[in-house]
Amino acid sequence: MNPESPPVPLEHPAGPLAGYRVLDFADEKGQLCARILGELGADVIKVEPPRDGDPTRQNGPFFKGETGPDTSIYWWTMNAGKRSITLQPRLEAGRQILRRLIAVSDIIIETNMPGEAAPLGLDYPSVSAANPSAILVSITNFGQTGPYAKWHATDIVGQAMGGLMYLNGDDEHGPVRVTAPQAYAQANFQAAVGAMIALYARGVNNGIGQHVDVSMQEAVANAMDNAQQIWDIRRINASGPGIHRNNNGVRGARYLFETADGWLVALQVGGLIGPGANAIIDWLAESGEARGLDSPEWRARLTSMQPLPPEDTRYVEETLAAFLRTRKKEELVAEAQRRGAGWAPVLSPREIVESHHLAARDYWVRVHHEDIGESFIYPGAPFKLGETPWKQRGRAPHIGEHNAAVYGELLGIDAAELRRLKLKMVV
């Protein structure tokens, strides 16, 4: 093999899921789920419509801003290390091939609107007829059935209807979504758990397959912290606290502060209010910036856990804010941690990539895109398994890049037959 053009995907026989096969028909709600299973060793085949390929190849941002089927940064991120084939399941000939593919696969991931999978042969009755052991993972906006089952949604609708957005934002501006799409991320990650549980259930139940029905709305609902219980128990609606914390549904202490070079978060005013307050008070006192908070009276009040009147809270917050404003965030965090306070810096994507901690853990991987002659840094192992390591498996595939390999080796379709299928727009 020419080392300059590594195969996509890189082989991964040491992964815990090596030997399993996944068919990926998913959009934004399931592509990352499939990628994770691939990085655990499964053979993941992305199935795309013939000619133009998957519609999400049109999702921005694009490499150097240039649109095209192979330049989507979205596509690169979500489909790295998969194989790609083209197939048209709207044609009967395509569905016949699909049934043969399902027969040699373990997990099928689809994200069609409920009711729209059946004409494609991707509903559970069709899948289980082709392979009773197959696990069909259907990831939809609101689930397969129910009053909102056919509602349209994108990420922001998921974040809103799933309750997260209400908890996020501030009084002045209203609710806000996390700009990096979290309804999609939650649906992908939780679907992976559902797929794994179904896979394990198959192993202990004589090979039964089943249907895993995932709701993006519910996936977001599981990210509401303790707000559900605050409503259930206290009948209080927690809402967006801005730079403060929510404490049991009511606005708590400020937790976000500006420093000389950006922002940091300090738990409970960095321990200035709470049982650990003395460590931070000492620090301020040593720097001569305690503004009287190091008096025995203040120390007693700040460590007592009794609520402070608003003007005192403001004085404490202003004291800490003034101290932090003249110093650098990573140095502050290092010193706070040394003193036993759980602070962290607010990091941007660039600062995360430049993190010395992640570098020390050898986190990042460099992925070669031999087709454009460059390589780029990708996120590394989300978990380090001692015996069966995670592995990044190379760049995302081109449209139908693996047609010959998959159709040939897996289904025994020869080159001439593949050409015929291509002419008929089946592949």
Binding site: P16, L40, N59, P61, F63, I73, G146, Y148, T154, I156, V157, A160, M161, G163, L164, Y166, L167, N168, G169, G174, V176, V178, T179, A180, A185, F189, A191, M196, L199, Y200, G203, V204, V212, V214, S215, Q217, N222, N226, Q228, Q229, D232, I233, G242, N248, W263, Q337, G342, A344, P345, P349, R350, I352, H357, A360, Y363, P379, F383, K384, E387, T388
Partner: protein, 429 residues
């Protein structure tokens, strides 16, 4: 579940040392699908969430926190004093009967009590163990403390949340606590399946920050490949317009997104094709992204003009305008209208609205479980329905040390006399 099928994790026993959010959410998946999960706690230092509310009747107590309860359905609970001379030994005898150990302490804590993986695998060669601190087992930040509220900052979520000219406010929740457990559970169950097939256990070093980065969408590669640093955009989106939250007359907010031409055509039809949206400079998606402010202005007015409070009439005459009264929509009706034209749209639902949501009720998302101290309380179920081996939340969260007698006598094998002697000596505190 049909009678002949067993629950996925039936027969799997888990020693769960994990605490707060991440670890307990991982083991909740196992417990709700049939594993015997035993939370191992201390009554001298009760775990953080037992000390954080909401508490039933607003009365603090280790067995009264809804926060703790929600992540610990279907589990048993014991207490141990690892500083008691016999504490570590008792726990090791228990672990020898376990398949999985989970923990989320600062690195080194388990080793201090002889409970590190290398020691434990001597007791049980096929043991599977996962450690889930914020920053992993090694590296300069590995000893750093914190919770999801601060990890979301280090992992990029604060930077990506809020308005571009406003502070990086973060998500309002301890966000990564509810994101990374799903990746940890995926890895753990994959490793469990590998163990089922090969008999081999292993150790998983899970650093929450490293997992959380995978939820940032395209932000990392946009930087490493393009040198473009993404930032929070309020409710806007780099790829879609309109894309925002709009306030309705009753004070609630509705979100609306047009990511495709089909969505945009649907919106135009739903609005009755007002002039502004048929203008030339609104024709293509990238043009509309440029016209974002203009579109938001029109839509904000529309939501103000055409929505009504629940107690206002559906048909309202417009002041100073001749002609028939105008149709006004409640917040629910606006969403119905948009959805009927194929426009992604929804209400920003409050916790109260979530509990009354007919779709979540249809899915049975909230399980009502009876707790001896807390009474009947709502618990979150998983976001997926397995058609043949579904989740079953078998019981409410354990009270502190609820299963000491069962675990120490039935599983560890202490005699009645030993148990009472150790109890009196503080071994279970």
């Amino acid at each position: 579940m049909s009678d002949s099928l067993q629950k996925p994790f039936a027969g799997i026993r888990v020693a769960d040392f994990a605490w707060v959010g991440v670890g307990p959410i991982v083991s909740k998946y196992l417990a709700d699908h049939g594993a015997e999960v035993v939370r191992i706690e201390s009554s001298t230092y009760p775990e953080a969430l037992r000390r954080v509310g909401p508490f039933v009747d607003d009365v603090p107590g280790v067995d009264r926190s809804g926060y703790y309860a929600n992540f610990n359905s279907s589990k048993r609970g014991i207490t141990v004093n690892l500083k008691h001379p016999r504490g570590p030994e008792l726990i090791k005898r228990f672990i020898a009967t376990c398949d999985v150990v989970t923990e989320s302490f600062t690195p080194g804590t388990m080793a201090k009590f002889g409970l590190d993986y290398e020691s434990l695998r001597q007791l049980r060669p096929d043991l599977l163990m996962i450690s889930m601190p914020l920053y992993g087992q090694t590296g300069p930040w590995s000893s750093y403390m914190g919770y999801g509220h601060v990890l979301q900052a280090a992992a990029g979520y604060n930077h990506m949340t809020g308005w571009p000219d406003q502070p990086p406010i973060g998500t309002g929740v301890a966000y990564t606590d509810f994101l990374v457990p799903h990746l940890a559970a995926t890895a753990l169950i994959a490793a469990l399946d590998y163990r089922r097939r090969t008999g081999k256990g292993q150790y998983i070093d899970f650093g929450q920050m490293e997992a959380a980065i995978h939820g940032l969408g395209t932000a990392i590669l946009d930087w490493t490949a393009n040198g473009h640093e993404q930032i929070r955009l309020g409710n806007h989106d780099m790829e879609a317009a309109p894309h925002n939250a709009y306030r309705c007359r009753d004070g609630r907010w509705v979100v609306l997104a047009c990511a495709t031409e089909k969505h945009w055509e649907g919106l135009k039809a739903a609005l009755g094709r007002p002039e502004w949206c048929d203008m030339d400079r609104m024709r293509r998606r990238w043009q509309r992204i440029n016209e974002l402010k203009e579109i938001d202005r029109h839509l904000s007015f529309w939501f103000e003009d055409f929505t009504r409070r629940g107690d206002e009439p559906a048909l309202q005459a417009e002041e100073g305008v001749e002609g028939p009264p105008v149709r006004k929509f409640t917040t629910e009706e606006v969403v119905q209208l948009m959805q009927s034209f194929g426009v992604p749209c929804g209400i920003v639902q409050s916790p109260e609205a979530m509990h009354a949501d007919p779709q979540l009720a249809h899915r049975g998302h909230y399980w009502k479980l009876q707790h001896p101290v807390m009474g009947l309380r709502a618990y979150d179920g998983p976001s997926f329905r397995l058609s043949k081996t579904p989740a079953e939340l078998t019981k409410a969260a354990p009270c502190l040390g609820e299963d000491n007698e069962y675990v120490y006598k039935e599983i560890v094998g202490l005699s009645d006399e030993e148990f009472i002697e150790l109890l009196a000596d503080g071994a279970f505190e």
